[in-house]
């Protein structure tokens, strides 16, 4: 018997992002659609950044998780439009990011508070960070640097 679409979503909920394992692919909001086409499970994925090197790892992780869940035929579809936005990050995902030490995307102006001490006196060190989706900031209260998940 084919697992229901809701069961598939539950499987995908358990697949961590390869670069930020604190959140799952569904937290990230990049799984756009899951649907059965006869025997084949079609999973529609949208890239975060067009050059993000994690994309191929993400695709492999999806296929492996679904095969482990007993689904033999998986077809991954890439959907560019509408382009991914950090608005699609779930509220749960944003909380997990902050607990992990990454300031979640809330405003294009920058992070709301330091994920370490909650301080609001912040400065940007670099427009880019360790992955395409992040920028480097520093808290002037606790003096710790931290990553900010950029708002796009």
């Amino acid at each position: 018997m084919q697992p229901s679409v809701a069961d598939i979503w539950a499987v995908l909920d358990g697949v961590p992002d390869p670069e930020i394992p604190a959140i799952s692919l569904t937290d990230l909001g990049i799984i756009r659609e899951v649907a059965w086409e006869g025997e084949v499970l079609e999973v529609t994925v949208t890239p975060t950044y067009s050059g993000c090197p994690a994309t191929s790892f993400i695709n492999r992780a999806i296929e492996e998780a679904l095969h482990d869940a007993g689904i033999a035929k998986v077809a991954l579809k890439r959907q560019l439009s509408p382009p991914w936005t950090t608005d699609w990050l779930t509220e749960g995902g944003k909380r997990k990011l902050e607990a992990y030490g990454i300031a979640p995307p809330t405003s294009p102006k920058g992070p709301e508070r330091c994920p370490h001490c909650g301080g609001a006196d912040l400065e940007r060190i670099s427009a880019f960070g360790s992955t395409p989706c992040k920028a480097q900031w520093r808290c002037r209260d606790c003096l710790e640097p931290f990553d900010h998940f950029k708002c796009i």
Binding site: P47, S50, G51, C52, S126
Partner: protein, 250 residues
């Protein structure tokens, strides 16, 4: 040649050549934050290349994918503008070249979001978000270095004097441009010039840099008629592996 194929090559070859140029900074930037920023910018540009050249291959319909187009064509088949082929020079020169390109790319992508070809519009909408970030950074750096120390100012002015004569080619308009504009696929490059000039004037005023008077421009890259000698050297390095070991994978 199909004008849409040619158009996609122009978009993709610009981002490919500039992406490769910028990637050459990896491990060499003045400070680690800038190194990371340059590498991330290069990554975005290469990602956009995969989309544009992927579409080019699809439009052409001869089984060539983005990799085949990137690594199996020689200089005369490239359609990149001469600006992006220019050597990196110093850090200021690299960021000024980036700014001159970013401002054009942002305007072009904004117009392409309204393309009648939904594939073109989708790529443009995706890339525009990344490019908005590139412009913010390259503009800020040009202003910071231009309106900086006497030495940084002098280097930025020299870079502007050197690179400005490559700007005009971005707005050149030929039969290919007219065909894709006629079909509603892309704007006429010449129609973007006024907005570009306004943005450039504002940035350079803030950066205390003087835009050269002459509008004379080098050209020959975007139609492939006369590339600079730099492109051949760049391709020799970039394509080496696929030339030596065709279809190598790992």
């Amino acid at each position: 040649m199909d004008p849409l194929f040619e158009f996609c090559l122009r978009m993709g070859d610009n981002t490919l050549v500039l992406g490769h140029r910028v990637s050459q900074w990896c491990g060499h930037a003045p400070v680690v934050e800038e190194d990371i920023a340059l590498a991330n910018t290069a990554l975005d540009l290469i990602g956009q290349t995969q989309l544009w050249l992927g579409l080019a291959g699809e439009v052409e319909g001869k089984g060539r994918d983005a990799d085949a187009l990137a690594f199996r064509r020689d200089a005369w088949d490239f359609r990149s503008v001469l600006l992006v082929e220019q050597p990196n020079g110093d850090f200021g020169n690299t960021l000024l070249r980036q700014y001159l390109f970013d401002e054009w790319q942002a305007l072009m992508l904004a117009a392409l979001k309204r393309s009648t070809d939904t594939r073109v519009a989708a790529i443009a909408a995706k890339a525009a978000k990344e490019v908005a970030y590139h412009v913010e950074r390259s503009r800020g750096t040009v202003v910071g270095l231009g309106d900086g120390t006497a030495e940084s100012h002098a280097k930025m002015q020299a870079a502007l004097d050197r690179l400005y004569p490559f700007v005009g080619e971005l707005f050149a308009t030929d039969a290919t441009d007219e065909a894709v504009a006629e079909a509603g696929i892309a704007p006429l490059p010449s129609d973007l010039r006024a907005a570009y000039d306004a943005a450039l004037a504002a940035t350079m005023a803030e950066a205390t840099l003087t835009i050269p008077d002459s509008r004379w421009t080098h050209a020959g890259g975007r139609d492939g008629s006369r590339h600079s000698e730099h492109l051949g050297h760049l391709l020799t390095e970039m394509q080496w592996l696929q030339r030596a070991y065709p279809d190598a994978t790992w």
